[in-house]
Amino acid sequence: METVNPIERVLRGVAITLVILFFMFPILWIVLMSFQTNETILRMPPSVVFTPTIENYQALITGKLETSAGILEIAFMKNLFNSFFLSTASVAIGLVLGVPAAYAFARLKFKGSEDIAFTLLSFRFAPPLLVLLPLTIYFQQLGLANTYGGLIWVYQLIVLPLILWIVRGYFEDIPADVEYAYRIAGHSWGATFRKIALPLAGPGIAAAALLAFIFAWNNFVFALVLASADKQPVTVGALAFVTASGIQYGQIAAGIVLSIAPTFALALYAQRYLVEGLSLGAVKG
């Protein structure tokens, strides 16, 4: 790329350092807290000098928390599994439903396409609270209450609009000529979609899927209201450490670390699609 003068280099370096400081310091602090108990977390003034303990992680992973009142059972790992299962299943279904639709809106202009696309997006406008009461009542009547299926359906309201609108943009960026050439050669729509459009929009799909996964992961009001304790995600589970004998900050911090870890691993894995592959410039030629 273009040559950069030294002053600009320094300024850029300072800027990126500040950005990393602002966004990563709280994370670092959370990680530090996850190796402490309240006795060292709640000190005045706060300090970074402490003897680390893996007590919090131990309690979360084994599900047994030793307190002065005896051993308590905690279901954190079950919560983690629920989050993982609900988010993955929702995003998978969201992709199956959303990607073809996004393609249709991007490529096959048809009567009412913009209306349908907007309607789909508008499902995201409805504040969750607005539909919560009727939803619980209907779920009860339909027998969907307290089922993973019901939850995954509701989660579509979070993931589907996101996938649809982001992926649509990427499909539109693929030059129509490439697909046209392939179709001219006698291939069907289906084959063109699978062999040309999908691979080219892959990075966009990966980005959308990752963001949708994160939003599904962070949601908690639907599961709380629509399902019983054994189907709750980590977001609800971690609140269990706000106990009658005070907030167990160390355990919440450990809970946050454990709940970020899988998503972060996923993001690192998808990295090449996300930030390297998002180069349609080459295709555009």
Partner: protein
């Protein structure tokens, strides 16, 4: 039960070893804490089984509970095996964190779900649940000898607590009146009194305050004596929960009420009297001078955390919050002491407002008689005594448990002044609010007004007049 386990249990019952040793010994034998609790209490359960009541009537039935994550719940679960043995019933339960617990209850009940047969609740919440038709009047069960075992002894439950859970459903209707419905039954309750840090008090020669003026003085003195801490913890978040603990307890002590009930049954605001304005001024001044700097975001757990970490010298809040903060895992464990508090020097006795964790029966339950078997056991004398002695079921709601020497000694040994505090203030302890459907609207607005006063955005007099006006308008709109 193996011989070794039996020996351990017997040694415990005979007082040869303590509870911790027992649990330790048991876990060495592969027995969990819950099971250990069962062993301890098996004898009491056996006695219960022989009282002539048909405990096995619902043998094989399974019921499901909705519970809040709380030491009371832990106590219930620890003793649950005994109930199962006693009745042959099975008990399922869902436990949700307190932060979201009532959202879950409201959602489950408003949708008419029959999933849960009984649930844990606070008494204030039944002012919504009862009239909404979500929970049943339990008087019908209590007074039915064919459904309730002869040892239940309902009269044993402290009168103020028992009556605070009963309301006739008429806005402004007195709690515990003759036509009142028993919407819930107490598991245990909390009074609002003083918890203070004895270490800080002793080191600085502070005396325990005995009225509101002294409280202001002591709090200010404590703050200047402490390095970076503050004098007094009270709640301050924008929520009904800010009004109900210390604040309302002190307010009531000056003979003040939240609402007046007219002869025609109409409700009107009563918080802008002269006495009330004086009380508010002092309260606000106390927070400004020696309260937490971040008072306006303080819920019960910040108030508790600060006193437990030695950041505040005392708190005027739930006694059991002080009880938990005095336990292991807190910097000031063992340093906290308790005192009944009478805000008004001319008042005869303290008038603590109370919070009551209790059990209600869901109106949507399909097996109410079986659910009642559980409720009478969970709120009965046998479990109450077990919870108070062995677990953290404080404050028990039954006078027979408060008479128990073992329980009193347990408290007196590690919680300085707790038993005396309870004895002094229990007769005046009850819910001091007027029961009515706008309870949460009005108390939230009250808290927001207090926040504005403390931030000096509005003078106390003016703020209270505005609050009263707004309250009257809302009552009027709701046809109350």
């Amino acid at each position: 039960m193996s011989k070794k386990e039996k020996q351990l249990a017997e040694a415990f019952v005979a007082g040869k070893i303590g509870r911790r040793e027992l649990i330790k010994g048991m876990s060495a034998l592969g027995v969990t804490a819950a099971t250990a609790g069962v062993l301890v209490n098996a004898a009491a359960t056996q006695a219960l089984a022989q009282n002539g009541f048909d405990w096995k009537k619902h043998d094989g039935t399974s019921i499901k509970l909705l519970l809040n994550k709380h030491p009371y719940t832990d106590a219930m679960i620890a003793n649950l095996e005994n109930f199962k043995v006693l009745t042959g019933m099975d008990v399922q339960y869902d436990v949700f964190p307190e932060d979201v617990y009532f959202d879950k209850v409201t959602a489950a009940l408003s949708s008419g779900s029959s999933e849960y047969d009984a649930f844990m609740t606070g008494a204030y919440m039944t002012w919504t649940y009862g009239p909404a038709g979500w929970c049943d009047d339990l008087n019908e069960y209590i007074s039915d000898a064919s459904k309730t075992n002869p040892d239940y002894n309902w009269e044993d439950v402290l009168e103020g607590v028992r009556k605070s859970c009963a309301w006739n459903g008429r806005p402004g209707g007195a709690l515990g009146s003759d036509d009142a419905k028993q919407w819930c039954i107490p598991l245990a309750y909390e009074q609002n009194n003083l918890t203070y840090n004895k270490r800080i008090f002793d080191a600085n020669g502070l005396a325990v305050p005995t009225n509101l003026d002294e409280l202001l003085g002591t709090a200010a003195a404590a703050k200047s004596a402490m390095n970076g801490g503050y004098g007094i913890g009270v709640r301050g978040s924008r929520s009904w929960a800010t009004i109900h603990p210390g604040f309302l307890s002190g307010y009531t002590n000056f003979g003040q009420v939240d609402l007046n009930v007219g002869a025609d049954g109409k409700l009107t605001a009563a918080m802008n009297t002269d006495v009330s304005k004086q009380f508010h001024s002092k309260w606000v001044q106390m927070i400004q001078e020696s309260g937490a700097p971040d008072w306006s975001t303080h819920t019960w757990y910040q108030v508790g955390t600060d006193v437990g970490a030695g950041k505040s010298a005392m708190m005027f809040d739930a006694d059991i919050l002080g009880y938990f903060m005095n336990g292991a895992g807190n910097a000031e464990a063992g340093n906290l002491a308790f005192s009944a508090f009478k805000a008004n020097p001319d008042a005869a006795a303290p008038t603590p407002n109370i919070w009551i964790w209790s059990m209600s029966m869901s109106s949507f339950s399909k097996q109410k008689d079986a659910a009642w078997y559980f409720l009478q056991w969970a709120t009965g004398p046998e479990h109450d005594l077990f919870g108070a002695r062995e677990m953290d079921l404080v404050n028990p709601a039954r006078s027979s448990v408060w008479a128990d020497e073992m329980f009193r000694n347990k408290l007196s040994n590690s919680y300085s002044g707790y038993v005396e505090m309870h004895d002094v203030s229990a007769p005046g302890a009850s819910i001091k609010f007027t029961a009515q459907p706008l309870f949460f609207d009005l108390t939230t607005e009250w808290a927001a007004t207090l926040q504005k006063m403390v931030a000096k955005e509005v003078p106390v007099d003016e703020g209270l007049d505005m609050l009263a006006e707004s309250v009257n308008r809302q009552l009027n709109e709701a046809g109350l």
